[in-house]
Structures are given as structure tokens and as C-alpha cells.
């Protein structure tokens, strides 16, 4: 190997590329500040830690915003290890807001178990999860991708176990064993892809069609399995309900949005490369990737919504609904068009908002009944808190996808994108996805409406001695979320205009 005297140049040019990492660097600094604050500060620790974490995330949001304005086209940097496009920067904003919501929920819920000695660690983990999920869609190299996937998963396991009780550890161990197995399978797949293409760059996969593609498509299948596990699609979702039931509610607000959407965005990138390289799955000759993802989306939407019908624990119900929404978003990936991506991002923003509202609701109920998670805790609440009743009804309407809420617009746009793709390609799978989506929305009506039904039509269980009444300040945040959802219905074109202005590499 001959050595040139300019061997250091790439290293210096790498440090130039750090400019693209500004939001992430802010998060990294925030992590270290939280770390030291946790160790050094003795007085008013909770207050200090919370304000540091919030200001860190706010600074991150500001830097992401400037990046969003400044960035014009897709760039590759760090010698092609990473890539950046405007849709990824948009997702950074969503994740930032979600983290902010999670931290605020964690502060608001002093009465829920996380003790002060673990607060610093908790914020550290939340911000680390944010860091991992903003970096994941940027990966353009299998090593970076695997590293970030593991980063996300391991922080996820730790957040899941944070309640430190029996159900929390049970959820964590299920998540962990399934997750670790999935990542091992994914690693094997990556090694096969590396062997077949001879390159770690994800973009080089597009040359794959010239190669002997038996092992390549097997490797790709394994990698897709790992990603599907992360999004928790129906056969790979077994860990999710228990993990979400055991995890602290404020953590799930982030855990159910950030890794999922990040993995979806990465999946988008990967499928567009598969499409570009015309890679078939030779082992399963019937399947093109459209068929595979389409069938998974159908099973996920129907299965998750059907399973949610029997749930009586609110957190578990929301966990199943989260699986279902993952299926809807996967249907968005199926379109692989610019309009499809806009609708997917719209759906993700609405979903992040709704989820925040839903887990706020869980926390309110837990506060009112002193740690009760059963759905019967909602009985007759509307007579005590009529305003809360209205808010919850609107929130649930949004979950189902009925007007006048953002949820309706999200589903409407998503389905119209799928319909458009069907018109263009004429593949029957799209119409099946379309039908399954509509049908599962109808199913979801029954379990989401259970909560408003219990609130309005069942008598208040007033003999319960543990009841704590709610103050109106408690649901100020809920009010804001519901208002935002309404705005997304009446002024949906504001967000859609922004989303359509993202120029895609497609």
C-alpha cells in the first residue's frame, strides 16, 4: 500500500462535515451536561436536571430548524457514511417535539415511580434515544446502520425497565431477548450482503442485480426482518404489548414514535434502492418487495386492531393501537412516491401528537386512581370533568380517523396516496391494502370509543376511597394537543405545503 503525503486530508475534511451534525452535537453536549449535573448537583436536583434537559432539546430544535431552512438537496458526507435530506430533517423536528413532550410528562408525573436518584439517568436515556433515532435515517453504511440500530435498541431496553417493578422487568426482558435475536439475524443478513456486494455502502446495493442474487436476497430478507421487528409488524410484534405495559408512560411517548418512524424512514431509503436495483427475492419467486410489505401491512392493521378489542388495560390497549398505526405507516412506505412520503410524514406528525395525548391521559388516570391502569377507571369521569370528557372524545376520534381531527386528514391523505399508486401501477396488492386499512379503521372504532363510552354512560364509581380529583392545570397540555390536532384538520394544507416543498430524491 503506497502512502501519499496528503493522507490527513480526508480526516480534516471529515471535521468540515461536522457542520451537518450540528443538532446532534448539541444533543451530545446536552447528554454530557446532564451526566455531570447528575453527578455534581446535590440541591434542587430534579429542577436542575429537567431544565437542563429541556433547554438542551430546545437548542437542538433550533439547530434542526436552521438546518431545515438551510438544506436544499440530498447530501452525502463523512465520506459517504451518512446522508441527509430535508425529509430527515423534518423528522428530526417531530422527534424533538416528542422528546420535549416526554420530558414534560416525566416532570409532571413526580407521583409516578421514577425516584430522584434515577432522574438524571432517565433524561440521559431519553436524549440518547432521541440522538439514535435522528441519526438512524441518515445512515448510508451498513456499519453505521447496525451501530445505530443497536444504540436505539439498548436505550429502549433500559427505558423499558425504568419502572423497576415486576411488570417493567418482564416487559424489558421480552423486548431484550426478541430484540437481541432480531439484531443478530440482521447482522447475519448484513454480512451476507457485504459478502455479495463487496461493499459496506448501502447505496451499492443498487448494483446488486448483476450479482448472483440468491444469498443477496436472503441477506436482504434478514435485514428487512430486523427492521420490521423495530417497527413491530404483526408477526414480529410479540414483545411490544408487554414492553409498553411495563415501561414508564413518559418513556413510551418517545419509544413508540421515534425508533418506529426512524426505522420506517430508513426502510423507505432501502426500498427505494431495492426498486432502483430491481432486486427480486429469488428464494420466494412470487414475492416482490411490494407484495411482502403489502401483506405485512394488511396483517398488521387487521391483527393489531382485532387484538386491541379485548384489552382492558389502557396501556396495553394503546400498545396494540401503536402496532396498528405502525401498519398504517408501513402502507405509506408502499407508495414510494413523493406524495406518499409527504403523507407518511404527515401521519407520523399526527401520530406523535395523538400518542402524547393518549399517554398524558394514562398518567391523568393513574394520578386520579393512584396507579390504576384498568379501563374501568374512566367510568363516569365526564360528569366530574366535562371538559376533559370533550377533549378525550376528540382525541379518540383522531385515533380512529374521524373528522374533525388531524387523524382523519392523516388517514385520508395516506389512503389517497395509496389509491393514486394503485391507479398508476394497477397492482392488486394496493387495493387490498386500501380495503384492509378502511376495515381496520372501522374495527378500531369499537375499542377507542370504549373510553368515551365509559366516561359518559357509566355511573361514577364514587365509593372508591383512593380517588384524587384532577385540577384543570393537569389537562392544559391535553387541551393544547387537541387544539393542535384540530388545527391539523382545518388547516391541513399548512403542514402539507411544507411537506410538499421538501424536495425528494425520487
Amino acid at each position: 500500500m503506497e502512502i501519499q503525503s496528503n493522507i490527513l486530508d480526508p480526516i480534516f475534511s471529515l471535521s468540515q462535515d461536522l457542520n451537518y451534525f450540528r443538532p446532534e452535537l448539541v444533543l451530545l453536549i446536552c447528554l454530557f451536561v446532564c451526566f455531570f449535573a447528575d453527578l455534581l448537583i446535590k440541591k434542587n436536583k430534579g429542577l436542575w436536571l429537567s431544565s437542563l434537559a429541556i433547554s438542551g432539546v430546545l437548542a437542538y430544535l433550533w439547530f434542526s430548524y436552521t438546518q431545515f431552512i438551510g438544506l436544499e438537496e440530498e447530501v452525502y458526507f463523512m465520506s459517504d457514511l451518512m446522508r441527509l435530506e430535508r425529509s430527515i430533517v423534518f423528522v428530526k423536528l417531530i422527534f424533538g417535539v416528542t422528546t420535549l413532550g416526554a420530558i414534560i410528562l416525566a416532570i409532571k408525573t413526580k407521583w409516578i415511580q421514577i425516584p430522584l436518584s434515577h432522574t438524571g439517568e432517565y433524561y440521559f436515556m431519553l436524549i440518547a434515544l432521541l440522538l439514535g433515532s435522528v441519526l438512524l435515517p441518515m445512515a448510508n453504511n451498513w456499519l453505521v446502520f447496525f451501530l445505530l440500530m443497536e444504540f436505539l435498541s439498548i436505550t429502549g431496553y433500559i427505558i423499558t425497565s425504568f419502572n423497576r417493578d415486576k411488570s417493567s422487568y418482564e416487559g424489558a426482558i421480552k423486548y431484550l431477548l426478541f430484540g437481541a435475536a432480531a439484531s443478530a439475524i440482521m447482522l447475519y443478513g448484513i454480512s451476507l450482503i457485504y459478502g455479495m456486494t463487496g461493499s459496506m455502502s448501502i447505496g451499492d446495493l443498487a448494483n446488486g442485480m448483476e450479482l448472483d442474487s440468491g444469498l443477496l436476497s436472503l441477506g436482504l430478507l434478514f435485514v428487512l426482518l430486523g427492521i420490521f421487528f423495530k417497527i413491530a409488524l404483526f408477526p414480529m410484534h410479540v414483545w411490544l404489548p408487554s414492553a409498553y405495559q411495563g415501561a414508564p408512560s413518559s418513556g413510551i411517548v418517545l419509544l413508540s414514535v421515534a425508533p418506529k418512524v426512524a426505522a420506517l424512514l430508513f426502510l423507505w431509503h432501502l426500498t427505494s434502492i431495492i426498486e432502483l436495483g430491481k432486486i427480486g427475492f429469488d428464494l420466494l419467486p412470487m414475492f416482490q418487495w411490494q407484495q411482502m410489505i403489502g401483506i405485512l401491512a394488511i396483517i398488521t392493521m387487521l391483527g393489531a386492531n382485532a387484538a386491541a378489542l379485548w384489552q382492558t388495560n389502557v396501556k396495553r390497549l394503546l400498545a396494540w393501537s401503536s402496532v396498528g398505526h405502525g401498519g398504517f405507516m408501513l402502507a405509506g412506505v408502499l407508495t414510494l412516491s413523493a406524495f406518499g412520503q409527504s403523507t407518511l410524514l404527515f401521519y407520523a406528525s399526527v401520530y406523535a401528537l395523538m400518542n402524547m395525548g393518549a399517554f398524558l391521559l394514562v398518567l391523568l388516570i393513574k394520578k386520579r386512581t393512584q396507579n390504576e391502569e384498568d379501563i374501568n377507571a374512566f367510568r363516569g369521569l365526564a360528569s366530574l370533568h366535562p371538559f376533559l370528557g370533550v377533549l378525550v372524545t376528540l382525541l379518540m376520534l383522531s385515533f380512529i380517523g374521524l373528522p374533525p381531527t388531524g387523524g382523519f386528514m392523516a388517514k385520508f391523505l395516506l389512503f389517497s396516496a395509496i389509491w393514486d399508486t394503485y391507479q398508476q401501477s394497477g397492482e392488486p396488492i394496493y387495493i387490498w391494502v386500501f380495503a384492509a386499512g378502511l376495515f381496520s379503521s372501522v374495527i378500531s372504532l369499537f375499542y377507542y370509543m370504549k373510553i368515551p363510552y365509559l366516561m359518559y354512560f357509566k355511573p361514577l364509581n364514587s365509593k372508591d376511597p383512593k380517588l384524587v380529583s384532577l385540577k384543570s392545570l393537569d389537562y392544559l397540555m391535553m387541551f393544547l394537543i387537541v387544539v393542535a390536532l384540530m388545527v391539523l384538520f382545518f388547516k391541513a394544507n399548512w403542514l402539507m405545503n411544507i411537506l410538499n416543498s421538501l424536495n425528494f430524491a425520487l
Binding site: I3, S5, I7, L8, I11, F35, L39, S117
Partner: protein, 158 residues
């Protein structure tokens, strides 16, 4: 082997033979050289420790596991030091870049080790390295005689 060269599998075989030979040679020479005067005390498993009772398949205290976990983490991170060490002091590269190469490599590794050390500091401050001793919980004994009686008795003796 026709050309007098060994195949890749042959190298593995050579390694195996070499390893076995090395171990056997060491043990054998030690046996030949060392004096041999056994007594009962010397033949115990741990010459200066306690005699083990029962099998080793019993449950150990959790504290051992925690220390072991921490040890594994720090040990495995050091896997990065080995490839680093091979490029750090590369004479050719150092001369070509006027010493900058070494500086860059050093700074990167120092940053890495500092981050690891911070983890250790965290463990230390949070008290996970403390060898928690079981608190001696003496038997609670409730005397039928009230405590005041004792103190009065002591006072009177003074």
C-alpha cells in the same frame, strides 16, 4: 503438499500442534526440574484458603455478578486499542505528516478512554462499586423491664 507449501488448513493444524507441544513441553520440564515433597497441607485445593465444600454449582452473591458485568464492559471496549496501537506509531506515516498523525491518533484515543473513564466515575459516584456488606441484624430482644429502669439503675450506681 506437492510444492512444499502448506494450505490454510495446514497452518491451523500447525498452530494446533505447536500449541499442544508448547503446553506439553512446559509441563514436562517443570515436572523434571521441580523438587517434589508433598504433604497433606500442600495437596489441598487452595494451599492458603479454605477447603471448598460441595460443588461449585451453588448460587453466588449478586455482588460478584455486578463487578463482573462492569469488568466485561470495560475490558471489551479495549478491543479498539489493539488496531489503534498498530497505526499509532507508524514511523512512515509520522514522517510523512510531520508528527500530526500521532497527535490525531492520540487525541482520538484519549477522547475514547475519557468517555470510558467517565462511565467508571459514574459507577463510583453512584456507589455501584461499593462492596455492600450485609448489615448485622442482631436479634431483636424486647426486655420486659422498661429502659428507664436501666438508666435509673446506672445513675444510682454513679
Amino acid at each position: 503438499m506437492i510444492h512444499g507449501e502448506v494450505s490454510e488448513f495446514g497452518i491451523i493444524l500447525l498452530f494446533l500442534i505447536g500449541g499442544i507441544f508448547f503446553v506439553a513441553f512446559g509441563l514436562l520440564t517443570a515436572r523434571l526440574i521441580r523438587p517434589k515433597r508433598p504433604n497433606i497441607e500442600k495437596l489441598t485445593t487452595y494451599e492458603s484458603g479454605e477447603d471448598p465444600l460441595g460443588t461449585a454449582w451453588s448460587q453466588f452473591n449478586t455482588r460478584f455478578y455486578i463487578i463482573a458485568l462492569v469488568f466485561i464492559l470495560f475490558e471489551v471496549e479495549l478491543v479498539f486499542l489493539f488496531p489503534w496501537a498498530t497505526v499509532y506509531a507508524d514511523q512512515e506515516l509520522m514522517e510523512l505528516t510531520g508528527g500530526k498523525w500521532g497527535m490525531i491518533a492520540l487525541v482520538e484515543m484519549v477522547a475514547f478512554v475519557i468517555i470510558l473513564a467517565l462511565g467508571l466515575v459514574y459507577l463510583w459516584v453512584k456507589g455501584f462499586l461499593n462492596w455492600e456488606r450485609p448489615m448485622p441484624t442482631g436479634k431483636q430482644y424486647y426486655s420486659p423491664i422498661p429502659k428507664i429502669a436501666y438508666s435509673k439503675f446506672i445513675k444510682r450506681r454513679k
